[in-house]
């Protein structure tokens, strides 16, 4: 009855990289500044190599980084940052300490000055560290009551075994034992500019922003300890690991599959194979277990990159009573993509999605800052966007099929299920061998 038909897409323009500059300072700190003048703000990201740092101390250090310097209290720091519309916070992953912040662009100098104070004259006052330690312990306790956290913890242990990546959250007991003096020592050892990358993105002149960073941070010196993490071990498929969570109304299904770093020639094809399988909403797996069967709300898959290895992670929270069927469909979809080439149209759809989301991620200051910082920590620069887009555009159907056979085969998966074991063990055992977690 309606005359409306689906309009054609206007082809994308060529990717235009923003104006940027880069300088490695004499101290070993690399500064990358990117101009996007859309709003009068600046985004800041600082990544400091932190691989193999003692976990409990490193985690508390990241929580307590802004508790005070020799000349400023935690409240001074927060108030002075606020005065320029600014804020800074810190986090930790198994490879890096990450400082994230932003401010009005007119406050960039002040934000850098405060950051410099935090980096070069940390005090870790006993009182404030005590507060942060207690908060971290409480926070970990809450995390330990969340199924997503428990499932991830179990998967990491199963995947990484004795490798440092196996444990990424300390226990409350370990955190309770950390003393301020240990934070000061760890800071002196590891919070160093050598190998660190500072990214500034915003309504700025890139060269001048780097000058400002150089002025403010010239006093941050020194070489950190070797942070090289040994290569992650290959995945060792085995029985499905079942972790009991009595009374759970859902099961957390997790699978790890092999993957390759961003720079690997297989990466673009693997990324597209992942998309077709389950890496976005319009994928086979999501259409199957959500839109057809209604087993789950937000199933998702993604390739996680760490410095010492990459893994493809499959995740879904499914109703307890359909845990077996949900695993069945997951194995089916993995088996299908690993065994048969994708259709032309579904591959083109996945390709356009992958290319489009790259553009979207470049369209904000925060998006650009995140990309530039993550890329830099893997030795890449924003021009990787152009190269990666070209590579995605060139991937053939055969290459996707090859990558899927190599990386997405269900026989290669490490599987963990967290749920009410009494209810789900039987149905899961019908599909694969199951091993109960010792905990």
């Amino acid at each position: 009855m309606s005359k409306h038909t689906l309009p054609d897409l206007v082809p994308d323009s060529k990717i235009r990289l923003p104006k940027q500059a880069e300088r490695t300072l004499g101290t070993g700190l690399t500064v990358i500044a990117v101009r996007r003048p859309s709003v009068p703000l600046v985004e800041l990201r600082l990544r400091v190599p932190f691989g193999r740092a003692p976990l409990a101390r490193a985690t508390l250090l990241s929580q307590a980084l802004f508790t005070g310097t020799t000349s400023m209290s935690s409240i001074d720091i927060a108030a002075e940052l606020q005065a320029v519309g600014g804020g800074l916070s810190a986090g930790l992953d198994p490879d890096r300490l990450l400082v994230t912040g932003n401010s009005l662009v007119s406050g960039l100098d002040r934000m850098l000055e405060i950051l410099a104070g935090v980096l070069t004259e940390p005090a870790y006052p006993a009182d404030e560290v005590g507060t942060e330690r207690d908060r971290l312990v409480d926070h970990i306790q809450v995390a330990q009551s969340q199924p997503a956290h428990l499932a991830r913890t179990a998967l990491l242990e199963r995947v990484y075994g004795r490798h440092p990546y196996a444990v990424q959250t300390p226990t409350p007991e370990q955190v309770r034992g950390v003393r301020p003096a240990q934070l000061r020592a760890l800071h002196a050892d590891r919070v160093r500019p050598e190998g660190a990358v500072l990214v500034l993105v915003g309504d700025l002149n890139p060269e001048k922003a780097i000058d400002a960073a150089e002025r403010a941070l010239s006093g941050w010196k020194g070489t950190g300890k070797d942070s090289t993490v040994p290569p992650a071990p290959p995945l060792e498929p085995g029985p499905l690991l079942l972790v009991d969570r009595p009374g759970s109304v859902q099961s957390s299904l997790r699978m790890a599959l092999p993957a390759v770093p961003r720079t690997d020639p297989d990466h673009p094809a693997l990324q597209l194979a992942n998309m077709v399988f389950g890496g976005y909403f319009s994928s086979r797996w999501v259409e199957n277990i959500r839109e057809d069967k209604g087993y789950t709300y937000g199933p998702h898959t993604s390739i996680e990159h760490f410095l010492a290895g990459s893994t493809l992670v499959v995740a879904a929270e499914v109703a307890t009573e359909v845990t077996g069927p949900a695993l069945l469909e997951t194995i089916y979809e993995l088996g299908k993509i690993a065994s048969l080439p994708p259709g032309e149209e579904e591959l083109e759809q996945a390709r356009r999605y992958a290319l489009g989301t790259l553009r979207l991620s470049m369209s904000t200051q925060a998006g650009l800052a995140g990309l530039a910082s993550i890329y830099a920590s893997f030795g890449l620069r924003l021009d990787h966007l152009t190269a990666y887009s070209a590579a995605l555009a060139a991937v053939t159907r055969e290459q996707v099929a090859e990558a899927a056979a190599k990386y997405l085969a269900p026989a290669r998966a490490v599987t963990v299920v967290l749920g009410d074991a009494e209810k789900v063990e039987g149905p899961l055992s019908a599909l694969t061998s199951v091993e109960r977690s010792a905990e």
Partner: protein, 431 residues
Amino acid sequence: MKIPATKYPVERLTLDNGLRVVLTPDRSAPVVGVAVVYDVGIRSEPEGRTGFAHLFEHLMFQGSENLEKLAHFRHVQGAGGSFNGSTHLDFTDYFEVLPAGALERALFLEADRMRGPRLTEENLRNQVDVVKEEIRVNVLNRPYGGFPWLKLPAVMFETFPNAHDGYGSFTDLESATVDDAAEFFRKYYASGNATLAVAGDFDVTQATELIQRHFGDVPARPRPELPGFDEPGLTAERRESYVDKLAPLPAVASGWRVPDPIANFQDYLPYVVLAEVLTDGDASRLVERLVQRDRIVTSVGGYIGFMGDEYQVRNPTAFLLQAHMPPGGDADKVLRVVDEELDRLATGGLAPGELARTQARMATHLLRDTDAVLGRALPMAVLELQRGRPELLNELPRLVGEVTEEQIVAAAAALRPESRATVEVIAGANA
């Protein structure tokens, strides 16, 4: 520090069928954001049909006049874009962000479902299942699920629209019928009851033509009368608690009624700023006192609106404070200290620079949100719907900066214990 402002251009027009349109072009990145907002939300769902507004939001993705099930998702993502929708107390939004060359496609998709979604028994049952899993993930299978946004309204309000659980009971969700959905669509999803906003990389003349082409023949239906949801405020303190079997630590949240966010924006805005004075960062009053000095909470947050949508909510709404406590935490003590701090602010005023720095940080947050095309399209669509003033988005940093110490002090003085509603989470897990 001078508070800067954005100058996003704003063009407004109304189609013959009553659809109100906002265009805000910005050629700085080759992307567009498209938002369609309908003037119906959780407060409008009928008794016995809790959760229906949200369930219906799901049904709007299940195919429409010219589109099979799954087609909407595939067409957006196959154009390189992302989509979503969300159900609020007073509105329901649907949105896409895409490469600029997909603008017409997004307009086609939104217009097609504005003409009518495919409401089938099969799709309804499927989405009831999906919504139940959503509720399990977000509420039933995790600690602090629905705290406080699903728990506090029932303590604070008397009437069904304001007090009920907007995610819905499983019984009500399972009772929903295709006829209910058809009636809900007919009544509330009229073009005159909606706004469309487009932000990003487009030419206004061309976009106007595309909008006419796709939305121009959406049949006009009468716009339902906007109900008033006001009810009397509290005359005495209310307090409830519940055991959360999954929660290892106690928590508490309180709400106070605030002036009408739309009819009385002038008096409302100081409460928005007060929430930040009290809880934004380590130098804020309540973080300093409760977290750092007294160490009786591990975190505290303050905001307006149960969904944190302070500029997109109608009356009645609330100023909210929520705090998580350490083991054995004492909610009474936390509330006493909050009262003390409010009194101190009401009688002693602000410290030098305290208001200005809070306003500067708020400006950063506001500006940062608008850097994304959807951070403009979505709020502008809602501001048009509720106020007829999408350009308010440009003015907010300045208006926040004009709030005075006297206004903050008066707002703090109005948050009295006797007008407070509180809900406490009793930790039920053995941590």
